[in-house]
């Protein structure tokens, strides 16, 4: 089943067109890696899918689980199972990590017709996930991402993902800023989420991550379009040769 279908997507910010006719189909159970030069539109794509309002979709469509995704508010997308692990997670002083995540989880559970969890039940679940991700429990009592190190922020994103159990996870450069051990641990967390009814799109610059989270497909996003798709071997080629050969290809299209 197609979980996500992006057809000829154009999006701009201000007067700048960033996505210029992007096509991508993701089926349940698949892992897609998106690579591409800086500024090519990878984060833009992730944000547009998550519902960031300052990007304007000018044409094209996005069908998620058979529904028009672009009509949904960001919170509805989240409740329907979309999760974006941010490239730059936002610090929110004054909002407790634990309270925030429990509120989010309960919104999603309510939407799915499940019982809400009380503080104690939530804590049990949260502790279990933190253990898997080898995170310090004290992070739960701190404000969301406030004063977290770069790596802690990324790990916190994956922690949130593990608790919220999305159907479609968008991981935007979750590997950047992680040390070698953290990369392994975070990958374990991501792999634990892999399931036949779920899909993952991961944006990365490094083939290294794909050793841990082996993708079914690798795409290259350049200048607002997917210009090349292949299997995981494409990532090795990119690692060796960079993107220049592709841009020539694209120019010859």
């Amino acid at each position: 089943m197609n979980l996500l279908e992006i057809k000829n997507l154009h999006a701009k910010i201000g007067n700048e067109e960033i996505l210029k006719g992007l096509n991508l189909t993701v089926r349940a159970g698949e892992v897609h890696a998106i690579m591409g030069p800086n500024g090519s539109g990878k984060s833009t794509l992730a944000h547009v899918l998550a519902g960031r309002e300052n990007y304007q979709v000018t044409s094209g469509e996005v069908i998620y689980q058979g529904k028009n995704l672009l009509e949904m508010a960001p919170e509805m997308r989240a409740r329907e199972g979309i999760f974006l692990a941010f490239q730059y997670p936002v610090e929110i002083p004054g909002v407790g990590n634990s309270y925030f995540l429990r509120t989010a989880l309960n919104e999603i559970r309510k939407h799915r017709g499940l019982e809400e969890l009380d503080a104690l039940e939530f804590l049990g679940l949260a502790r279990q996930q933190m253990k898997l991700l080898e995170m310090d429990e004290s992070l739960l009592n701190r404000a969301v991402n406030e004063g977290f190190s770069g790596g802690e922020k990324k790990r916190n994103e994956i922690f949130q993902m593990s608790v919220l159990e999305p159907r479609l996870a968008l991981l935007d450069e979750t590997d950047s800023g992680l040390d070698i051990d953290a990369l392994r641990i975070v990958s374990k967390g991501v792999n634990a989420l892999r399931a036949p009814d779920r899909a993952i799109i991961l944006v990365t610059h490094y083939q290294r991550l794909l050793d841990y989270i082996v993708p079914d497909f690798v795409h290259v996003l350049a200048d607002g379009q997917i210009v090349k798709s292949g299997d995981k071997s494409l990532a090795f080629k990119l690692e060796e040769q960079g993107y220049a050969w592709l841009e020539k290809d694209a120019a010859n299209l």
Binding site: G51, E75, V95, E107, L164
Partner: protein, 439 residues
Amino acid sequence: MSEGFLQQFVKDYGNEPGWLRDIRRSALDRFAALGFPNRQQEAWRYTNLDPIQQTAFKSVDFSSPGVIKTVQLAELMGDTIAAQRLVFVNGHYASELSLAKGLPDGVIFGNLSDMIVSHPKLLEESLTHYAPYQDQSLVALNTAFLHDGAFVYIPKGLALAQPLELIYVSSLDGAGIAGVSYPRNLIVVGDEAQVTVVERYVGVARDPYLTNAVTEMVGGAGSHIDHYKIQQEGKLAFHLGSLQVRQGRDCHFSSHAITLGGKLSRNDVTTVLSDQGCDTTLNGLYLVGGQQHVDSQTSIDHACPHGTSRELYKGILSDQATGVFNGRIIVRPDAQKTSARQSNKNLVLSDEAQVNTKPVLEIYANDVKCNHGATIGRLDEQQLFYLRSRGLGEPEAKGLLTYAFASDVVDSIKVETLRNRLKEWLFVRLAGQGKLEAA
């Protein structure tokens, strides 16, 4: 202009002592001479008192029509913060709702007008000494009419662990009478003594009314005083309040002014660090919407060396609400080694809400560390998106961020019952649908 108020003056306040009668007369004269403040005065530029002068306020008592009876009142007041409390209804002491017993020997905690009779000497020595009425017309007005209120006396060396609560309820319900009350509190804290006082103004009146409140306070050498004021007056209320403090040597004083209610409210906090080594904290939070207007004026007067002060006032304004912050820090020539920090931060949630903020530093000494700043901002779009991207609805996400903005002021409240109650009140106000629960 002020005649309407003057006519209310009762010539005979019973058999009160001569000194008090003199003060009353002289305060009345001062008010007659000064009149209500007007917008030509710098400190009143953004607050218009015309609506007050155009309303015919009347003093009301328990027998007046429309006054809510005490049984219902207890419910309306909600849970009390502290075990020991004095309750005033429409300006009158309500002994049946109060509980002033069970305090250590030497502590005096009672209704001001009773205390004038029972402790005349103590009162004569301090009443009006810390809130001078000669140049402040609203203090003069209060002084001319003062009657009920709290007298708190903490003897030398005594640290009172439990907070003392003062509750002022206005409870006129639709009888068409505009009530006025003049709460007056006097708090005298001896050397090395410690006390926490919580003042709450609660309005359950559907008619306009005016509260003209003055609290004066003196802290002895090495004393510790925490003062909290929570203003939750009725929707149509006018609240003109003033807290005036004199800190003695090494006195630690903190004030928290939380303004939630009222149609028009003005809150003055003035403290004089009158000897060496004083420490002052002024925190404030105003949360207003609709067409509320709130004006906070603070003054920290560093008169002596080695004083430290820190001030944080935060404002949240929505709809067409308007706010004013005017924070003055004075460092006198003698006040070397002063350290003073001041900050006013405002969160504006709508296009029509407005705030005028003016921090003023007047420094006449050279060896000092002072800084101040003011900001007016909006909710952070990235934070909002982050919360929504996790499933929180827009109103809840906004409520949570707004609450977060206020949280440092809330968290600085040391009285646990009060802190928790305030969190609940804020969550109810901020959460839109009331879905957020106190964290």
